[in-house]
């Protein structure tokens, strides 16, 4: 089984710790991870802003970079959803525009192999107890694309519940969007900030030490809001919790 | 060019992607939804759902019906009651003569009806899952206006014969070219803070009598 890490551009650039945590976690579970260096970005920011044609080279690059791997693992719900939901659309539109099936084929080749991290753990590896230790109270915010586009369901919370020492605290209004939404956060900053402030208020009200998500892009918005509002809750990616052990805390 | 030609021409141009030889039936519609959610006791479910939306539900056998209707009119203090032309005469046989019977007349104005306290009708059928009674203007139901303007509606449902489980079971039994009124509880509004309040323009009191044959 050849497994590739798709670290995502946000993690690569801003949250390398998360990528390192994924590597550490998967290796602990006996998975040999590879990092195809030709990878860059899924193209979500371009695509969701309406620049579909700018996304196409990134679709090709993605398919090329991950050719030959059995599984592509992304520590991001929204990047995995971009590949799984939108790559086929990009392919179909290119075909409808009379540009052949190259992009559609590229999409079809990666869609079934692309997994968000918790999907890979639960569905492919079949584990929920990854042997982690994290002695903190944690509340979980299900990010929208993981929740609704991928249908992650209770995979993340099953993994968290199995973590030794971790106390999982319910988040009020958990399924409401945090207000990030990529360029939405800037184009409609007033609404985005109001959503973020409500989310931060709910998070703080749990009294948890940390808020956990499967998406560092949403986390950047949530964490930035919490920090600006002076909340003591710290944001943490699920990979960093699952990578933590009694010997090594992330 | 007529408005008709303009609109239909635009529709046809807009559908250039639809193959010329495609027929409507070529577009699949899977009807694998339930035709009934199989209420264990349709009459009980009907009663519960009617009551849930604040209809007042009563039960009687045929012999007790005239007395029950008389009591409901009396409790309400009704001095007049409008009836459709084909209402079984025995339904009002227990009601005292001093409660004025108003036959629905073609030349009666809405104002005339507004002066009437109550209306008594039968129905075409009732739907258990949704708590709905359906009127189709049949002889024991009359014109739509008589069940609309008076503030108190007593509707008699013959059970179990007139009760169907569900909307999919009801539609084939109804005749589309008759004027149909589906009633699920008394009039209501949620327009103020999305909070439901019963009683606006239609009859504010809906009493449904389930009569066992």
């Amino acid at each position: 089984m050849r497994v590739a890490l798709f670290v995502t551009c946000v993690n690569d650039t801003l949250y390398p710790r998360t990528g390192r945590a994924v590597v550490s976690l998967l290796e602990r579970l006996g998975v040999e991870v590879e990092f195809p260096v030709e990878q860059s970005c899924c193209g979500q920011a371009q695509f969701n802003s309406g620049y579909r044609h700018e996304t196409e080279p990134l679709v090709r690059r993605f398919a090329r970079a991950f050719d030959g791997f059995d599984h592509i693992v992304a520590p991001s719900g929204s990047c995995a959803a971009m590949v799984r939901d939108n790559y086929p659309r990009i392919g179909a539109k290119a075909r409808a525009e009379g540009r052949g099936s190259e992009l559609a084929d590229a999409a079809a080749s990666v869609v079934p192999r692309t997994h968000e991290l918790t999907e890979f753990l639960v569905d492919v590896l079949g584990v929920t107890d990854v042997g982690a230790y994290y002695p903190h109270s944690v509340t979980y915010h299900p990010t929208c694309h993981g929740l609704r586009m991928l249908g992650l369901g209770d995979r993340p919370t099953r993994l968290l519940r199995a973590v030794k020492g971790l106390e999982l605290v319910d988040l009020p209004g958990a399924e409401e969007c945090c207000g990030f939404g990529g360029t939405f956060a800037v184009k409609n900053s007033a609404v985005s900030s109001a959503m973020g402030a409500d989310k931060a208020r709910h998070i703080t009200s749990t009294g948890a030490a940390a808020v956990c998500t499967v998406d560092n892009s949403c986390q950047m918005h949530i964490g930035g809001t919490l920090s600006r509002l002076g909340s003591p809750v710290r944001p943490v990616h699920i990979a960093e919790i699952l990578a933590s052990t009694e010997e090594e805390q992330w | 060019m007529s408005g008709r030609d303009v609109v239909l021409g635009r529709v046809r141009r807009a559908l250039a992607d639809v193959p010329r030889d495609e027929s409507p039936d070529d577009v699949p519609v899977a009807r694998d939804y339930a035709t009934t959610h199989s209420p264990a006791d349709a009459v009980e479910t009907l009663a519960e759902n009617l009551a849930d939306y604040r209809a007042l539900v009563h039960r009687a056998d045929a012999a007790a019906l005239p007395g029950l209707i008389a009591r409901l009119l009396a409790e309400r203090g009704s001095r007049s009651v409008v009836t459709p032309p084909g209402l079984p005469p025995e339904w009002l046989s227990g009601t005292p003569e001093d409660v004025r019977r108003v036959a629905d007349a073609a030349d009666a104005t809405p104002h005339d009806l507004d002066a009437v306290d109550s209306v008594v009708t039968g129905c075409a059928l009732a739907i258990a899952e949704t708590g709905t009674i359906v009127l189709d203007g049949g002889p024991d139901q009359g014109r739509r206006r008589i069940t609309l303007v008076p503030d108190h509606h007593i509707c008699v449902v013959r059970v179990p014969d007139q009760v169907v489980d569900s909307v999919p079971r009801a539609l084939p039994l109804l005749v589309p070219d008759r004027p149909l009124t589906w009633i699920s509880g008394p009039s209501a509004t949620s327009d103020i803070e999305l909070d439901r309040v019963e009683g606006v323009h239609g009859p504010r009191t809906l009493e449904v009598v389930l009569v066992r044959a």
Binding site: V7, T13, R20, E34, F35, V37, E38, S40, F47, N48, G50, Y51, R52, T55, A65, R148, G181, G182, T183, A185, K187, N188, S189, A190, M195, A197, M220 | V6, V7, L8, V11, R13, L15, D17, S23, V27, A30, Y33, A106, P110, H111, E129, T130, R143, P176, R178, P179, L180, T181, S187, T189, S190, I192, E193, L194, V197, G199, V200, H201, G202
Partner: protein, 501 residues
């Protein structure tokens, strides 16, 4: 607030003002959360909801793909049942037809059932200009009309008003339109509903002309369907001598049987009821019962332009339930007026830019009025993939391209005001397509990270006004990987295997 959407600012500016309006925020949060939970319960009662939803979408798709066929069939059925069918290509034509039909009756007043189509075409203003008074009879529409306000919700047009505000509007304005509000009117919803009942009663009893829309039109039988709660619909549909229904062409469904799907989907999604209190169905005219004359005005007004777009077309499945508004976090905070049309919320954000085009700044801003969270798609009873349509319309805004405008195929240019964004997207894509460049950039940023300001200038301010920016790491993931795991670097290689920590 004046009674027109014309000249309203783009969504972000209008939304910014709404977000600051604490009373509005609290009214909306209260109302939308109430209905949200109720809807979830009403839907959960039906184990086959997913299959009903799929059937609803499929029936609408069948109809839309053969819309000409079904419209002709409908016209035939309605005419055979004694109705008269009129066709209006746009709002102006529809208003002209309705005005003429009312004038022909000799009446100067009409009673109206709440109708999105007549709101969309501005019928009330057109009638007023012709000396005809249009009385709204739905409670929420009455609140809006008395308050010289605009609707802000599809189902509950006065959702932005709380009970206290409604009391004040009734007390101050009812007398201008007819029977005044009772003395000592309280703000209890029951008393407010009673005041509306008394105010409108005389209007109903005297009405000679009713104006409505319709939720469904059955092609096979010519049957019109109106679902409602208060009984004002029944009043308007049965007491007047003349009934004029203005209905969008997409409201047709093929068969009588198809109603079994929509009459289950609509009430549960809309008012969260198993069934709404009243549903009226009529087919043409009936001797001795109801209006003697029935006119059906079939309205295009941008619908065929929407139909011409194979992705955007799905917006025409909409049955106006408003479930998407009630779950939308953006709607909850921005309010309905910010969307600048009769159709607010997520459905408005994809419908308005298709019905009206994206030429105005407001209309071009609507596809961006979403964080793409997908809650709208999840609750939509006819499975309109609103996020997909939003992204599709964003593409139209920034890239332009082929569209249909008033029936004519035309090529639109990219909207103005996106030049800087376009350049940034191109540049970022180029960098991302050259990992060597990306890596160089990461290294520069990593070295300069201590210089990063807490507050950014220019467009970045929109972020840092309310949110801190993350600290830049000293080393990107890719550099860490190379440093710690490496065999010799090989940029074109397929992958590099991990080799110890």
């Amino acid at each position: 607030m004046v009674g027109t959407y014309l000249g309203m600012p783009a969504f972000p500016e209008a939304a910014r003002d709404a977000v600051r309006d604490e009373r509005l925020r609290s009214n909306l949060t209260h109302a939308t959360h109430t209905i949200r939970d109720k809807r979830a319960k009403a839907v959960a009662e039906l184990p086959d909801w997913g299959r009903l939803r799929a059937a609803g979408a499929a029936i609408k798709d069948r109809t839309l793909r053969h819309l000409d066929h079904y419209l002709e069939r409908l016209e035939e059925s309605v005419t055979a049942a004694g109705g008269q069918v009129h066709w209006a290509a746009d709002a102006r034509e529809a208003n002209r037809i309705v005005t003429r039909l009312v004038r022909e009756t000799g009446e100067e007043e009409v009673v109206k059932v709440k109708s999105m189509a007549t709101q969309e075409i501005g019928l009330n203003a057109a009638l007023t200009a012709a000396g005809i008074r249009a009385n709204e009879t739905d409670l929420a529409e009455l609140i809006v009309q008395l308050g010289d306000d605009l609707p802000s919700h599809i189902l509950v047009p006065a959702i932005h008003r709380n009970r206290g505000e409604i009391r004040d509007i009734f007390a101050e304005r009812m007398a201008d339109w007819g029977r005044p509000a009772p003395e000592g009117l309280t703000d209890s919803p029951r008393d407010l509903a009673e005041a509306a009942r008394l105010h409108l009663r005389q209007k109903f009893l005297n009405a000679k002309v009713g104006v409505s829309g319709a939720n469904f039109m059955v092609a096979e039988t010519g049957t019109m369907v109106v679902v409602e709660s208060e009984g004002n619909g029944r009043m308007c549909l049965t007491l007047p001598e003349t009934l004029i229904s203005v209905v969008g062409i997409e409201k047709v469904v093929p068969t009588w049987r198809d109603l079994e799907v929509f009459l289950q989907l609509l009430p549960r999604s809309s008012t969260a009821e198993r069934m709404n209190p009243y549903t009226s169905m009529w087919t043409g005219t009936t001797e001795g019962d109801g209006p003697r004359t029935f006119h059906l005005v079939l309205l295009d007004n941008g619908r065929t332009d929407t139909l011409a777009d194979t992705v955007g077309r799905q917006a025409l499945r909409c049955i106006r339930c408003s479930a998407c508004l009630n779950v939308c976090p953006v709607y909850e905070r921005a309010g309905g007026h910010a969307y600048g049309s009769a159709y607010p919320g997520p459905i408005g954000a994809i419908l308005t830019p298709q019905l009206r085009g994206v030429a105005s700044e407001l209309d071009a801003s609507l596809p961006y009025a979403s964080s793409l969270c997908g809650a709208c798609y999840e609750v939509c009873p006819v499975a309109i993939d609103i996020p997909e349509a939003l992204v599709h319309l964003r593409e139209r805004v920034v890239e332009g391209g082929e569209v249909t405008v008033r029936g004519t195929r035309t090529t639109v240019r990219p909207a103005r005001g996106h030049a800087a964004e376009r350049a940034a997207m191109r540049a970022s894509r180029w960098a991302l397509d050259h990992p060597g460049v990306l890596r160089a950039g990461q290294r520069v940023a990593g070295r300069a990270r201590r210089l990063a300001p807490r507050r950014l200038p220019g467009p970045g301010r929109a972020w840092t006004d309310t949110r801190d920016i993350p600290a830049l790491p000293a080393e990107s993931f890719r550099d860490w990987w190379r440093r710690t795991r490496e065999k010799p670097t090989r940029e074109s290689g397929n992958g590099t295997k991990g080799a110890g920590r």
